[in-house]
């Protein structure tokens, strides 16, 4: 089974040379730590950065330089700053090749719910609806089940949707899955996790064809 760093590490393997990538808050942010040295990717932060760098050293933090998670950051050489309308022009115009974000629920058909729980305080969707409606590739990074043990991979979402039919791939603590029109296709198992365990943790239709390899991370 993977921890959140393991999930991030596995997602980093999906990155391709030359891609621009938007990482959501939480586990997705950790993906930045595991980019292979031999590929070039640039991180887009929707508040207006392309070429986001590391967190700053103490004393070098700048209130005028934050990422979309409101964390202080730095810029890499060749970085660019821009306004919010331009930022979402990049996103909506499909210039960002990959979006990685968390989810509360994903459906068999790629619907995603990650912004609202009825009866609870709603904080808002931020940029998530624009990102999921636009990105060519969306990878969801999440735990396979909720804290109370319920599956987050469902026949259909029970929570209000963030986007419809948009998730292409899911990486959880248990598995890598592809989202097709037919159901969740199991691609890889996390180290030490059996297909039966994944089946038990998946409420939506799981498609298992042949031998499922263990992740190589």
């Amino acid at each position: 089974m993977l921890d959140k760093h393991g999930i991030a590490k596995r997602i980093a393997q999906e990155l391709q040379d030359g891609w621009y990538v938007n990482l959501g808050i939480g586990i997705p942010t950790l993906v930045a730590n595991y980019v292979p040295d031999d590929i070039a990717v640039e991180f887009q932060s929707e508040n207006g950065i392309l070429g986001m760098g590391n967190f700053p050293y103490e004393g070098e933090e700048d209130a005028d330089l934050i990422n979309a998670g409101k964390q202080t950051v730095t810029l890499k050489p060749g970085a660019v700053l821009f306004d919010s309308a331009t930022s979402f022009a990049m996103i909506r115009g499909r210039h960002v090749q990959l979006t990685v974000l968390g989810a509360m629920e994903v459906s068999e058909t790629g619907d995603i719910a990650n912004w609202k729980i009825p009866g609870k305080m709603v904080k808002g969707m931020g940029g998530a609806m624009d990102l999921v409606a636009s990105a060519e590739n969306i990878i969801v990074a999440m735990m396979h089940t909720s804290k109370s043990g319920e599956s987050k991979l469902l026949p259909q979402c029970s929570l209000p949707l963030t986007g419809v039919g948009c998730v292409k791939r899911i990486v959880t603590n248990l598995a890598v899955l592809e989202v097709t029109g037919e159901g969740f296709v199991l691609i890889e198992r996390a180290p030490g996790v059996t297909v039966a365990e994944i089946e038990a943790a998946t409420a939506g239709k799981l498609i298992v064809t042949g031998d499922i390899p263990e992740m190589n991370i």
């Binding site: 005028d64 309308a85 931020g126």
Partner: protein, 242 residues
């Protein structure tokens, strides 16, 4: 065109003395746009002046709602806001209390649609189609149209009685330059105010800003003043170990 730049000619001057003067004609019930992302790039001086003015029943269009004791949170504390139009309003307990008590209305808008709707308001585009929000609550009641096989929803432009933005440098013609990620929503909102007020850290002479690198052309700005005592609070001080 031999006489345009004569030296004895009168030139534009949009400078007002301070925040108080800039916001003097903002009345109860008006709609304001306020730039900023989180607490980054917010018009601190104008917000303080609005608190002091006591103006109320405001509709505030701003990506976020500040924190309890800073940014728009200060206006919330004084119950000066009737409605917030935002994309994300977490980190604010007073906000939550007012919302759950029905004292506050909230209209949540996807961040990209919010930015584009402001730009559209400023650019004379009354409406446009976007895929964001289709099939969700945001799309409910909105026209759906398919382009290239993909469903989109119709979103309309946003305008405001006053847009209030914060820039790094500006001149008396209203030309503005922002710094770092403090740019964010400020440029699209600057375009969409019937009156746009800019507060700047540094007011400079015309010609000091390179014409090739101005972020907000002065034509979008009606009033400008040099702010003071910027706190520029950091929400998440994240550091790297040496």
């Amino acid at each position: 065109m031999d006489r345009i730049a004569d030296e004895h000619r009168k030139t534009m001057n949009k400078i007002v003395n301070n925040a108080q003067e800039a916001i003097a004609d903002i009345h109860d019930g008006m709609t304001l746009m306020l730039g900023g992302f989180g607490l980054c790039g917010i018009p601190e001086n104008a917000i303080a002046a609005l608190v002091k003015s006591g103006v109320k029943e405001l509709t505030c269009i701003s990506n976020n709602a500040g924190v309890d004791d800073f940014g728009l949170g200060l206006l919330l504390q004084q119950k000066q806001i009737k409605k917030m139009i935002s994309s994300y309003v977490g980190e604010n307990a007073e906000f939550e209390r007012q919302l759950l008590n029905g004292e506050l209305e909230v209209d949540l808008i996807p961040q990209g649609s919010l930015a584009e709707r402001c730009r559209a308001g400023g650019a004379g585009i009354p409406a446009f189609y976007t895929p964001a929000g289709y099939g969700t609550e945001v799309g409910e009641g909105k026209e759906v149209r398919v382009f290239d096989g993909k469903p989109h929803i119709l979103e309309t432009a946003l305008k405001a009685d006053f847009a209030i933005v914060k820039a790094w440098k500006g001149d008396r013609l209203g030309n503005l330059i922002y710094k770092g990620t403090a740019r964010n929503f400020n440029p699209p909102m600057a375009m969409a105010g019937r009156v746009t007020i800019a507060e700047v850290e540094h007011l400079v002479e015309p010609g000091e800003l390179d014409p090739n690198y101005i972020h907000t052309p002065g034509i979008f700005v009606q009033r400008i003043f040099e702010g003071k005592d910027y706190e520029k609070r950091i929400e998440q001080r994240t550091l790297r170990t040496r």
